[in-house]
Symmetry: none
Subunit: 222 residues, 4 copies
């Protein structure tokens, strides 16, 4: 029989590891990293505290893994969304829409990523921040390209890059699948809000009709 090296290799083990990360993300989201103890996590994972250490290197490690996972997924989503599209305005629209959708769908993880950076030690924080910068550069590049194009009305590349990115976190902060507005509609409205900031006011596709109410239909804030 092949000797199983230290670490998580068996199917069961991988499942347990993923379960721990999922449970930890829930708790980090709800109470914050500092306020969440390994005891909480262990109890939620139906394990003893000591057993956690068969799957993680430590508490901080858990946080890093969650954060890196988010950024990997987000970058992959954008790469896939923009694939094959050339026009800047179209690329921007797609990027923003993907950005909004991702932030709504993975609100929990996104929130952790935004709020718990400071809980990481210098070294580990750098690692995560690098991924975020990489993502930011993609958007900044698009806006810069837009600014250089004809008929554009960009005010400030960096500041507006920030503003668009912030919109994602903002939507994440109140979106709920149980809310009265569909994810599609939310994505469209907010994409349009973002594009407006950038001086682009294209009526957006099919969602047009649904996206014009004056009274709000978005979920209530928690």
């Amino acid at each position: 029989v092949a000797r199983v090296e230290a670490g998580t290799r068996t199917a069961e083990g991988i499942r347990t590891s993923a379960h721990i990360r999922a449970v930890a993300a829930d708790l980090f989201y709800e109470h914050g990293y500092e306020a969440t103890s390994l005891r909480h996590i262990a109890k939620a994972a139906r394990l003893q505290v000591g057993s956690l250490y068969n799957h993680i290197k430590g508490k901080e490690d858990l946080l890093v893994e969650i954060m890196v996972g988010i950024m990997d997924d987000l970058l992959a989503a954008q790469t896939q969304a923009l694939e094959g599209v050339e026009d800047v305005r179209e690329r921007l629209k797609l990027f923003i829409r993907t950005h909004i959708r991702f932030h709504a769908e993975r609100a929990r993880d996104v929130f952790i990523g935004n709020s718990e950076l400071r809980s990481l030690s210098r070294v580990k924080r750098k690692k995560v921040v690098a991924l975020r910068d990489e993502y930011e550069q993609v958007l900044a590049g698009l806006i810069e390209e837009l600014a250089r194009s004809q008929d554009s009305d960009v005010l400030d590349v960096k500041m507006q890059t920030f503003a668009v990115l912030a919109l994602g976190g903002h939507v994440a902060s109140w979106y709920s699948p149980q809310g009265p507005m569909s994810l599609d509609d939310i994505a469209e409205i907010n994409t349009r809000i973002a594009l407006r900031q950038l001086g682009i006011d294209t009526p957006v596709d099919a969602a047009e009709d649904a996206a014009r109410p004056t009274r709000s239909r978005c979920g209530s804030r928690p």
Copy 2:
């Protein structure tokens, strides 16, 4: 008989209390509420840990006082800013500008107010949230009024109220007095960004020239 609660009465004592709150806000901002121990606070305030309790009821109390203080100041600033102005569009512009300026100038406190709500117990959180709702209602009222006015182009009252509010927190997240752009310019640009979202695109006053660069001059994110 004047029933005097144990507390702070001497001039010296009042100064110490304020000092403790200031020092605590610094630490809460930098490391977060949970990660900040009373030891840290006491050391920063050049006091013994036990001495803190001559001025505060407990750690949570400190956080509440800071949060309530922010909202009190913010509400007061808006009341003063809008005083005597009647036109909706003008009121909106003033509100947003004040909102942005306040969030930039008191970034530290604003950040605490946004990120540490969850660290409060139910009862105390309610108290603070009530103040925030009150503030939100003022803006929502203005946007609603705008929506009802002629030539307006409001997409969704609630969602756009959120979006404007979020812009404040966003500016607060990167603004630095040492940054290359003046607070005035930042306020003007972002006010314009916010108004654009609402369908109002008035060239803004005197800051016009300064506010048109394409390359960013805002401070780098921390």
Copy 3:
């Protein structure tokens, strides 16, 4: 004007000191010496903690004063009760009756005296114990005298001395002025119980009729 020495001399001051002792005794009785903080005492006395030190030397001092006060009063009560009586059996009856009555009437103080001896430091404990021994010797002397008299039926002087003394603490532990049985009746019954132990079974005086029920009428235990 005569210069007032350090310590409590003024009428107001003496009243405050007595008030503090009374309030402290209440709290020591209810929660125990260790569980009672000077903060509790100060609040109950409507004073600030620091102000207590104008009247007491410290927390332990408060306890000693209460304890010594009890023993002084108890010894004085017995001296007065036995004054002029010669017959041993009569003296015993009077002593026991006084013992019981005192323990019922001053149950609170008696309880403190019995239960908080261990809270005193060696030196102060000795001081209080000496007073208690003195009291015990009076009773032991009476029982010894009884043992030497004709027709007596004493089993063991020391042990029965203890037993009689214990009866006092015991009555103190449940007596309540609001209880259904009068203090007179309680004193008579328990005096008779005590005398019986010593082999003396004299029908006791006037209270005779009241003292013969089979169903209890004593107060319920707390």
Copy 4:
């Protein structure tokens, strides 16, 4: 699925738990519950303070466990002692003798049980008091039965029940195995003292001769 609470399962662990309880009982007896810190207990148990929490839920829990343990044992001892005996007077004698012996042999625990009830919170106190009431009812039932029987001379059921129970605590307060009188003799004398109170004066069994000295041979009070 067997839901296993965190707790003690290994043989080693059970021994440690018992050791902690024993050590705690010693300290509670000597210094009182409030005056005994977990530091003391941990040091006496040769453990770190934190390690205690692998075996107890908290300090109060320790006290409750000790108290419940005593009452369980006492009730069991009486059940066994009275088993198969029918005559009231005989049952009373056995009950009282068992009561006295138990209180002498387990003086330490009994003292804790009597003096630290007030240190418990409402809920936990109720739990313990219920056990004590159950025990008291057994004795009260016997005395009541005695009162209804012929040639009996009971003065007051409730009061005399108390008096007998108090005798146990009293013996516990001075008994020492190193004292000059054997436990058997002490039990016999005090059983007789108690029975006398109830109007029963049977010369008691074999211990008769040993039990008739006039000068005390019991241990000195601490």
